[in-house]
């Protein structure tokens, strides 16, 4: 039973997530008494669950990439997923917006609920789902189009073309890119630096005003300055959006996230709790070994 070593918040302390309804349960104990890590000052109370997985298994052909993953991701907070490479972090992220559908070999079992609806139900259109859940990838991947067209892409797809200029400007401002590119909106997105490209990708994702933004190691291909810009940006985005971020960089997770989920090899979710708790005092020994670098 791999579930035995999963420690989720319901055995933990400050936030209680019930799963049986959509109601948000307030356990207004802020995490401040526990160790508040980094600059994150968002309170961890008064939230409701946006994404919830129940006993999620994912297979690629015959190999299992995720085992029995159960997790509840709270609204308007930054949830980090950490773990050694190959442990299934990206796989989990791709389950949320059904990007795994694009991989022929992938098979998903179990439930994954978004706003209480199982996204793997037959009546869920993955395209409609992805319009509500934005995604940012590891390698910045702007389209070989102009900066403007990159940001407008999602809006045009959905036919939401009224006030396009304003929406593009707003998204670029939110992504902290407007000042750098406002005079070159017609130039190719590929002419930007790596960090700017990644912020452009973030602007592209938020232009359609999604509810959740998934980020798969968004800073791992960037230099330290660009990385810290992205981290600041994530911090601001969490005011308006639910952010789920995969990172292999534990300091980064500690700095920017409110909640941290630790996956370990074999695709198990070993522990999920407030970031402070995970980094200061994890329940699970293997997590402690991993956090302190003893884990191979």
């Amino acid at each position: 039973m791999s579930n035995e070593n999963v420690t989720t918040s319901d055995t933990g302390t400050d936030t209680d997530f019930q799963t049986d309804d959509d109601q948000s349960i307030a356990s207004p104990t802020p995490g401040s008494e526990a160790v508040e890590t980094g600059e994150s000052t968002r309170t961890t109370g008064a939230t409701h669950t946006v994404i919830e997985s129940r006993d999620l298994d994912v297979y690629y052909g015959d190999t299992q990439a995720l085992q029995n993953v159960s997790i509840q991701i709270p609204e308007q907070q930054v949830t980090a997923m950490i773990g050694p490479s190959g442990c299934g972090k990206s796989t989990f992220l791709r389950c949320i917006n059904r990007m795994n559908d694009l991989i022929d070999a992938a098979r998903v079992e179990g439930d994954l609920l978004f706003q209480g609806k199982n996204v793997y139900d037959d009546d869920v259109d993955p395209v409609a789902l992805r319009r509500r859940i934005g995604m940012v990838f590891q390698q910045p991947n702007p389209f070989p189009k102009s900066i403007y067209d990159n940001v407008a892409y999602g809006l045009k797809l959905q036919g939401r073309t009224e006030n396009l200029d304003e929406k593009v400007e707003h998204a670029l401002k939110q992504a902290a890119l407007w000042d750098e590119v406002k005079d070159q909106l017609d130039e190719s997105g590929l002419d930007l630096s790596g960090g700017q490209q990644q912020r452009l990708c973030i602007a592209r994702a938020i232009a359609v005003d999604p509810e959740v933004i998934l980020m798969d190691e968004p800073a791992s291909a960037l230099d330290p300055v660009a990385t810290s810009q992205i981290e600041d940006l994530i911090d601001e985005l969490a005011e308006d959006y639910t952010v789920v971020i995969v990172t292999h960089n534990m300091q980064q997770a500690a700095r920017i996230s409110d909640k941290t989920a630790v996956f370990l090899t074999g695709g198990e979710l070993v522990e999920f709790d407030d970031t402070g708790k995970i980094f200061e005092n994890p329940d699970n020994d293997r997590v402690e070994d991993y956090i302190t670098g003893k884990f191979g």
Partner: protein, 546 residues
């Protein structure tokens, strides 16, 4: 310390040549030899043919002196300068020089189509037909901003059908009525309205976008249209029919001017623009000098007469014109048939077909066999065309459509494979980004995959068309005529193509045919082929340098 190690070989650094490189060197030289041998064989052959076609030794020394001093020496000197000092400018110069020549070929091709297939009044009829379709589209958009699936497509397609079947039939009968109205309709003005007009508009729109200025666009439109008018007025002096000169002149002038404008505007490598000026002014000066001093140039087999006359019993008068027209028309059929089918097939195989499971296996078997089809000998395709189009579908033996469709089938596998390669080269991260934004597959293909893949698809496809234009065996099988004296006036008429005509000349008894005329035909074919390849290279370079 190393020096103290007992038994250490002093010459560890290889001075004793204990590392054997003889075999490697021998292999390298053998490879070089093979390369040189192969290339020089092809080169010598081409040179031989070119000498036969042009007969360079029949010209005056004065002619060589004039051409050499006025055109060749300055151009070569300038090229040498670019190679040593400024390669980027050299590339710009080469493009700016090649572009007009290339456009001249394309423009002549269009002009030939106007002469033989679409006379000006039919061409003219297309414009109101298109206008009607656009108007229907615009009205429909206004009336029903949120159409149901395929509604707009259906409406526009219907409008197109009605317009293109109805209007061209109606215009010739309306001609008299229209003529008495204000438009002074005759062939040159028809081409002015229906060829120069749309081109001027398109140029204006392009310039307006580039400069973000409507005024610049308006100026460009006016200039382009004025150039059309001027070319009609100058036609008697040039000695070309006025309605054709508009076509050729604008085909050359507009792309060249646009390219020069873009170079000037970017302000980089502007010095490259000196090359076309030097080259073409040099040629003009040489022509004037030759004319005034009465030098005789080479008595080439490949001359204006050869290009504009049909075959004749007398080698001096024999030409390739009907076969040239046949080849162009056949190309048109090939492009219209093989290109869309091939690209669609490639898109399906790359973007839609599953990779796994039973269907995936069927798909991979199909893909493998497309590769095999690309290797099937062309005679077999000829047989296929004979059976399919002539015996079964009962089309005219040796007609342009049959030839085009047969050769289209022949290159279809190549088109599919090269399009597949171009589509596969679109990075997967682009598709991921698009799907991640909530794009459907169709939206992803249309907005991301196709725009990225189109240059590669075009490059590969043009090379395939190059192969098509030289195919001979299928034409023999489907009964293309060895010799026709009149160019085909419709796609259902019997035709001959350049390679077929060349093949026919090769069995003429007279040596003048077998050497001179044949060589001229080969050179014509090669020029067409090379210019197609040049187009492919231009497209590729243009998009790679982004």
């Amino acid at each position: 310390m190393a020096t103290e190690t007992p038994g250490r070989d002093e010459s560890w650094y290889g001075a004793g040549e204990e590392v054997d490189r003889i075999r490697g060197a021998a292999f390298k030289w053998a490879c070089l030899g093979a390369t040189l041998f192969g290339i020089s064989m092809v080169f010598v052959l081409l040179l031989y043919v070119a000498v036969d076609a042009i007969r360079p030794f029949s010209a005056d020394a004065g002619w060589y002196l004039a051409v050499g001093l006025a055109a060749v020496v300055p151009t070569v000197a300038l090229l040498a300068y670019y190679v040593r000092r400024d390669r980027e400018a050299g590339w710009v110069g080469a493009t700016a020089t090649a572009l007009p020549a290339f456009c001249l070929l394309v423009g002549s091709g269009v002009a030939i189509l106007v002469i033989e297939v679409f006379p000006p009044h039919e061409w003219f009829a297309v414009v109101p037909a298109l206008g009607a379709v656009v108007a229907v589209w615009a009205v429909h958009q206004r009336v029903r901003p949120d159409p149901v699936e395929f509604e707009r497509f259906g409406v526009v397609a219907l409008a197109a059908l009605v317009a293109f079947v109805g209007v061209p039939g109606a215009v010739p009968s309306l001609e008299a009525a229209l003529q008495s109205a204000l438009l002074w309709l005759n062939w040159p003005t028809m081409m002015l309205y229906s060829f120069a007009g749309p081109i001027a508009l398109a140029t204006g729109i392009l310039i307006a976008r580039r400069h973000e200025s409507r005024r610049a666009g308006a100026v460009a439109t006016t200039l382009t249209f004025a150039a059309g008018v001027v070319s009609i007025l100058l036609a008697p002096a040039v000695g070309v029919d006025d309605y054709l000169l508009v076509v050729v002149a604008l085909s050359v002038a507009v792309p060249t001017a646009l390219y020069a404008e873009s170079v000037l505007r970017s302000g980089e490598n502007v010095s490259g623009l000196a090359l076309p000026v030097v080259a073409y002014v040099g040629i003009a000066v040489a022509a004037v000098v030759v004319e005034t001093y009465g030098f005789t140039g080479p008595a080439a087999w490949l001359d204006w007469e050869f290009l504009t006359e049909p075959h004749s019993r007398f080698p001096q008068r024999a030409g390739i014109y009907p076969a040239l027209v046949g080849s162009i028309m056949m190309m048109l059929v090939i492009v219209v048939s093989a290109f869309p089918v091939g690209v669609a097939a490639a898109l399906y195989l790359e973007e839609y077909a599953p990779d796994n499971g039973a269907t995936g296996r069927v798909v991979s078997i199909i893909e493998m066999n497309i590769g095999n089809l690309a290797g099937v000998p062309s005679v077999v395709y000829g047989l296929l065309g004979l059976a399919l189009f002539i015996r079964y579908a009962d089309m005219n033996t040796g007609s342009v459509v049959v030839g085009g469709l047969t050769v289209g089938l022949l290159i279809l596998p190549i088109v599919i494979i090269s399009a597949q390669e171009a589509i596969r080269a679109v990075p997967d991260s682009m598709r991921q980004a698009s799907y991640g934004m909530g794009a459907t597959r169709w939206q992803t293909v249309r907005n991301v995959v196709l725009p990225e893949a189109i240059p590669g698809i075009l490059t590969g496809t043009i090379l395939a068309f190059g192969r098509a234009i030289g195919e001979t065996a299928p034409l023999l099988m489907i009964g293309a005529a060895a010799v026709v004296f009149n160019a085909p006036g419709a796609f259902t008429e019997q035709f001959s193509a350049m390679p077929r005509q060349i093949f026919a000349w090769s069995s003429e008894p007279s040596a003048e045919f077998r050497h001179g005329v044949l060589a001229a035909g080969v050179v014509t074919l090669l020029v067409v082929l090379l210019s197609m390849n040049a187009a492919a290279i231009l497209i590729r370079n243009r998009y790679q340098r982004r």
